[in-house]
């Protein structure tokens, strides 16, 4: 991998995720499986990015590598960078682990514990918070001995402490002024659905979503303003728990500081990756300062947390439970109050997948990775889940990486598509381009193998398939990994590996039919 080649200026603000030269390998007793071989791509904010390919082509490994969830042993990310929101989250892999390859089956792996610890700390704050993932088999991906509610609440309590504390504080300290503002703003909204949305947001902000329907009813009644106000006050008063809000203020500060600490650590990591000595010194100092500050500042808070654990946790649990029910409503689960206390095995596959999605959305992630989310479901449920993901993408504005082997699903869901083959991206383009103007022989083959009633029946009665099988990735073919199955194979294909190059309008393809450029690796 040629680090110098990476052009960091390419990372623009609206690329939420940038993956560069990612390499993941599995060290098995039969040899090293080169599952991902230098994969680069980027996902823009709000877009649905599809990854498509046959099984075993590295789609899922790409997803798990982004989350740093590659099972270790036997797997390892051995190179490359992953930028999320402009921050490189994978520290220098060479520093984390030293891998000495003596032969295919004899590999020594030496870990640097201290760095791995920091890496795990950073990655665990990013997982769930910034990127969430939903898996192929919801029945296996949900913990069988925890209720759906507990699994969603766990996620909410991990990442949303600041906003939960804020709602609790607002609820407990709601003032006449807030109410007046709300009433005047609400009366300005004439459209009913807008009003509903406004009330919903307000109720959530003030930690009382239970009464949002009642508030709406009161607002839509044609009563006089003072009367409406009185009714509202009567609705709101019983919602207040009368708890000591100081501890919630402290909780909010504490988690704010934790987030700051994470940011500083990320900056420190990036300075290290850039070998920026001034940056390293500066951020190391800042991290130390903040840690020291936090130790003294939260001394009593940590004590109080232990002493008041029960009362304190109950309030958070209640609030998290409300939010969990809201999330279940958001993913169109009927009877969320019942489902929240169910165990995964009591739900149908579709319901399980909806719960998974609710869980993934719990922390408002900016990127959702969906790894074949519909493969294990039956056809009608598949369509519903796809609709749901698309709606949520529009509603929350978060990006989605959608992994599937089904081109029809890609056509329906995605803005841009990457086609993967044997651990490489062979083609990347907008969804229209892929379907109307595919370049790579593999993509073309894939498209031809879709059963289609409209075209194929008319042209020729037989469905085509790509001859041969996905190669063994322990000893992958030299050069272009597709060459043994390719109809347009040339001499160069066996010798060197084609580079993924732009052939116009962001349509990228890695094939010697379109460009002579080779990848630095081979």
């Amino acid at each position: 991998m040629l680090v110098n080649e990476i052009d960091k200026t390419k990372i623009t603000r609206d690329d939420y995720l940038v993956v560069q030269n990612l390499k993941t390998q599995f060290f098995t007793s039969k040899g090293i499986v080169k599952a991902i071989d230098s994969v680069s791509f980027s996902v823009k904010e709000g877009e649905v990015y599809g990854i498509v390919g046959e099984s075993g082509c590295g789609k899922s490994v790409t997803a798990t590598s982004i989350m740093d969830l590659v099972p270790d042993p036997p797997g390892r990310i051995i190179g490359g960078s992953i930028y999320i929101d402009g921050f490189d989250i994978i520290s220098d892999t060479d520093k984390l682990v030293k891998i000495t390859v003596k032969s295919e089956t004899d590999v020594k792996i030496k870990r640097n514990k201290r760095l791995i610890k920091r890496h795990n700390y950073i990655i665990s704050r990013i997982r769930g918070k910034k990127i969430a993932m939903i898996f192929q088999e919801p029945s296996l991906a949900l913990n069988p001995v925890m209720t759906i509610g507990d699994q969603i609440i766990e996620n909410i309590l991990l990442h949303n402490m600041v906003s939960i504390s804020e709602s609790i504080i607002r609820r407990e300290t709601i003032k006449d002024q807030d109410l007046d503002n709300f009433l005047s703003e609400a009366s300005a909204i004439k459209n009913h659905s807008d009003l509903k949305r406004y009330v919903q947001r307000w109720a959530r902000d003030f930690g009382m979503p239970d009464i949002e329907d009642s508030i709406l009813n009161v607002l839509s009644s044609n009563a006089a303003k003072p009367f409406v106000r009185k009714e509202l006050v009567e609705l709101i008063i019983p919602q207040r728990k009368g708890v000591n809000i100081n501890i919630f203020k402290e909780t909010k500060d504490y988690h704010d500081d934790l987030n700051k600490l994470l940011d500083l650590n990320l900056k420190l990591l990036n300075s290290e990756n850039k070998a920026d000595t001034a940056g390293i010194a500066r951020y190391e100092q800042e991290v130390k300062n903040l840690e020291r500050q936090m130790r003294t500042k939260y001394l009593t808070f940590n004590l109080k947390r232990i002493i008041l654990k029960k009362t304190y946790q109950r309030v958070f649990q209640e609030e998290a439970r409300r939010r969990a029910i809201e999330l279940l409503k958001l993913v169109n689960i009927a009877g969320p109050e019942r489902v929240i206390d169910s165990y995964p095995h009591e739900l149908s596959g579709g319901m399980q997948q909806r719960s998974m999605i609710a869980m993934a959305l719990a922390s408002d992630p900016r990127l959702l990775i969906a790894d074949e989310p519909t493969t294990a479901l039956d056809v009608t449920t598949q369509a519903q889940i796809l609709d749901l993901i698309r709606e949520l993408n529009k509603f929350t504005g978060s990006s989605v990486i959608f992994i599937t082997h089904d081109l029809a699903v890609i056509a329906e869901m995605c803005n841009r598509v990457a086609v993967m083959y044997a651990g490489n991206i062979v083609e990347e383009a907008s969804v229209d381009d892929i379907f109307t103007n595919s370049k790579h022989p593999y993509t073309t083959g894939l498209l031809k193998s879709i059963p289609r009633t409209d075209i194929n029946v008319a042209r020729n009665l037989r469905m085509e398939s790509i001859p041969g099988n996905v190669p063994n990735l322990i000893t992958p073919p030299t050069g272009c990994r597709f060459n043994p199955r390719c109809q347009h194979k040339m001499d160069v294909c066996e010798k060197s590996k084609p580079k993924l190059v732009d052939v116009g309008d962001g349509h990228k393809v890695a094939c010697f039919l379109y460009s002579d450029l080779t990848d630095g690796d081979n």
Partner: protein, 364 residues
């Protein structure tokens, strides 16, 4: 509510097993000729001639009927608490009363070691199971394999050598008595406690619970209580080590297995800190298969009890049964078999109920 029905159903399912158990002991008993069976009923000093006594006893036991009827008689006797007579150098009298005397000691050994080994094995197994193939894990595996493969009687002897009182001269660690449930020297010879009955056979019985430790505490005799406690240490440590080794293997295997499941990946993808992933997601699931083998481990524990009671001369049901075997007491042997069977059956019932409680997937 549903759980209650589940327990009732499981209890009903026990009936055929328990009946089968009685068939087994009945068949084993019928391997002996009548005159051997009635031996325990004969009083050579009585004025009634021995032949008449034998006939009476045969009649009482229903031995002159065909076998199926005999079995009914046998069942009836078992049900009425007439488990036969026995006479050994360890205990003489009705079998069921002997069981009543010595059973508590066995239960005491078993409960102490079960609690101890679970308390140690679960955290330890969680720790090493979460770090497969590290040094700690290797050490844990070697430990559990060694104690698992070690014959219980030998372990007991080794502990006697290392920690036993007066085994190796001048051993500073040798502070624990190696024989009996307490030491007679702890009794004040001028005022022997009234709650201790010295049977002629060299066994001391205490009342009301037949557990010397508890009885001494009840009566406030702390000298005897501490002696009873010290006498309990080595047998309990031996049993605990063997049981611990077994549970540790399963907890570790369960942890390793659960750690590779998809839901653990989900938990990590949510950003759950590793500590909580292990505690909340892996361990909770790992304990389910562990519970299913607890019944099995309990069976091996009961097997170990016999050996340990023998090595430490601890007056429990195992020593009772062993003496019955060695001194040819048919009813004593069958009574022991039956009581061990009943304990195991009940233990398995408890295991099943616990299993149903911790695994929500079990439908009652």
């Amino acid at each position: 509510m549903e759980l209650r029905y589940y327990i009732i159903r499981r209890l009903l399912l026990l009936i055929p097993t328990i009946l089968g158990l009685t068939v087994l002991t009945f068949l084993l008993m019928r391997a002996f000729p009548n005159y051997q069976l009635v031996q325990g009923y004969i009083n050579p000093h009585s004025s009634i001639p021995v032949s008449v006594q034998m006939l009476n006893a045969e009649k009482a036991l229903g031995l002159n009927y065909p076998p199926p009827v005999q079995y009914i008689y046998y069942l009836k006797d078992l049900f009425l608490g007439n488990w036969g007579q026995m006479s050994t150098t360890f205990y003489s009298g009705p079998v069921l009363r002997g069981i009543e005397y010595f059973f508590p000691n066995t239960v005491q050994l078993a409960i102490f070691s079960i609690i101890l080994s679970i308390i140690i094995a679960i955290p330890l197994g969680t720790y090493i199971g979460a770090r497969p193939n590290t040094a700690a894990d290797q050490a844990g595996r070697v430990f559990s394999l060694a104690f698992y493969a070690m014959p219980t009687f030998w372990l007991a002897l080794i502990l006697q050598i290392i920690l036993g009182q007066d085994v190796i001269y001048g051993n500073p660690f040798g502070i624990f008595p190696i024989q009996g449930s307490f030491q007679p020297t702890s009794i004040n010879p001028l005022h022997p406690p009234s709650w201790l009955i010295n049977t002629q056979l060299g066994t001391v019985l205490s009342s009301p619970t037949h557990l010397i430790l508890i009885d001494a505490l009840i009566h406030g005799d702390f000298a005897v209580a501490s002696s009873a406690f010290m006498s309990l240490v080595l047998p309990v440590v031996t049993l605990t080590l063997t049981l611990l080794a077994g549970i540790l293997r399963f907890v570790r295997a369960g942890m390793v297995d659960a750690a590779s499941q998809e839901y653990v990946k989900t938990a990590r993808s949510k950003g759950v800190p590793e500590r909580l992933v292990i505690k909340r997601h892996i361990r909770k699931n790992a304990l389910i298969p562990t519970v299913t083998v607890l019944g099995l481990l309990f069976a091996s524990l009961l097997g170990g009890v016999v050996t340990i009671e023998y090595v430490f001369g601890y007056p429990g049901i195992g020593l009772f049964g062993l003496n019955a075997v060695l001194q040819n007491q048919i009813f004593g042997v069958m009574g022991t078999t039956l009581i061990f069977g009943l304990i195991l059956v009940m233990a398995n019932l408890i295991v099943d109920v616990v299993y149903a409680l911790i695994d929500p997937r079990i439908r009652y």
